[in-house]
Amino acid sequence: MANLKNVEKKTKAQAMGMHTEVLTGRTQQKFFNPDEAENFYYFGTYDVDFNKRTDLDVKDMTAAEANKEIDKLMSEGYGTIVIKNPQGKHSLGVGILNKLNLIFEGSLGYFGMGSCDGPIVRINGRVGWSCAENLMAGKVVIEKNAGSCFGAAIRGGDLICKGSVGARTGIDMKGGTIIIGGDAGAFTGFMMQRGRIIILGDVGINLGDSMYDGTIFVGGEIGSYGSDAVDAELTKSDQDWLKRKLKVAEIGEKFDVSKMKKIVAGKKLWNYDNLEPTEKKGAI
């Protein structure tokens, strides 16, 4: 059995044989040393000028061709790009890691704006399933409705749908804010881990099912609560934040946030504090 008392340079886990390697790399603090900033390069990013604007008609392009063209325009310094005739194509605008003003004059299909980090996007139509999946930063505004899995696994940024959304909105989200002007479907906030969801309308069954953490605010009726989703007190601080967020999002500015319900994790499903079987043996 590992000697848990002799853990001078190793972690407890290493002493127990769970990790054999010793991590000797640079610490995060050193990695982000501003003195070395000039050596950093964020792959796929460009210096763009927001005042430099162009249109891109993607009617006769595949999604891959359209995305490559957007990338090429950014590399040429265009900071505002208007996409014409998206016509429900899938996977448009994915993987943009730049500051960029991107406007879609029409609707997107599945997986639109996935894995983005930084752009400000306005979609003057609807979006299909899994819009803005894995969004890391930036803002995506949808003027009409959205499909299921809206904002799946987002880590940051603001994702705003002025219409209604399908099922599993914010599934597995790890940060950021999702704002829905209309109604939301079943399993909203399913397994969410962090971040906030605001729904001004009604929401379907199993709201916040198995959520680990994070907060959901609902303005309308709730179909049913999911496992471990519980009501919490809506504080003054919450209301101030909601007002501010709705104003910035240009949605529901006059909405009476004081009547909203706040739902959080009951944390009865949490097992983080329990020891792993090997750790239990070690403790004995």
């Binding site: 016509q87 429900g88 194509k89 899938h90 029409g106 609707s107 299909g109 599945y110 003057n124 139509g125 609807r126 299909g128 399933w129 009409k144 409705n145 959205a146 499909g147 299921s148 219409g163 209604s164 959304v165 399908g166 099922a167 599993r168 109604d183 479907g185 079943a186 399993f187 379907g204 069954i205």
Partner: protein
Amino acid sequence: MCGIAGLIHRGKSSNVGSELQGMLQALKHRGEDSTGYALYGDTDGKNFIMRFKVGENVGEGSSSIVEDVSVYDERKKIVDQTLLDLGAKIVKEERTLPYSLRYEIAYDKKDLLDFSQKIESIPGVEILSMGKSLEVIKDLGNAKVVCDRYSLDKLIGTHAIGHARMATESGVDIKSAHPFWGYPFSDVSVVHNGQLTNYWNNRRALENKGMRFMSECDSELIAVYIAQKMREGASLEEGMKDSLLGLDGVFTYFVATKDSLGMAKDTMAAKPLVLYESDDLVAMGSEEIAIRSVLPQEIETYDPFDGEVKVWQI
């Protein structure tokens, strides 16, 4: 993964064959093992249209056993004699392919159960559809291939549903392809996207009530399930609502009758559906690009919610 599409014109007719072909072709990436059309054409309503097959497409990719074409001819002869025995008169006969036939039949009885049982008791024969407006056409290949093979692009009618199939749980053959006829009801058809997990329990129960299954495709259960509910006196919409409780699994499906089109989505909303609705047209599909093929302009579409059932009339 499969794709489904449907549309209904309200108050007018249109070239639904060509429109559905465009919608299904836009979904071909969801599966092109087989494609099927259920088209509700403009007819005088006097005669039944029977689409049936006397064999399988044994082309590339098929999981069917190769048979000699002469066997098809023998089966056709027996069908013709059986129709005569049943008191049905063949008004018009078309043989698009050696294994696929279309008959217009003068038959004055309303109960099609006995009729269908006798026709399908002939080995290798399956009625694909029976109705005064409905024609089910299904075969291997993508939407365009099937449309061209059967010259469907000129069919005028009020509504249609279709299916682009990726075979997962049963063979690549016509009998497992959608749409399924709502046997033995005239003019009822079903297409489905999803998986049903209580297929065998339901199938055994329905077979005990005298219903027939032609394939081992779980989607066929929906057609038979709803047909049985209608047989017990339920309306189409009531049967569909009942199916949300009776069928287990994930599904989105469409049902069409002579004058209506309906959709149902399971309570987990795990299968996609995008819907466009206006006063004169309803169009829906697994993906928006299907609807875009008939409505390229900017339109208002939405995803129906979990457990939703909707029915539209022509």
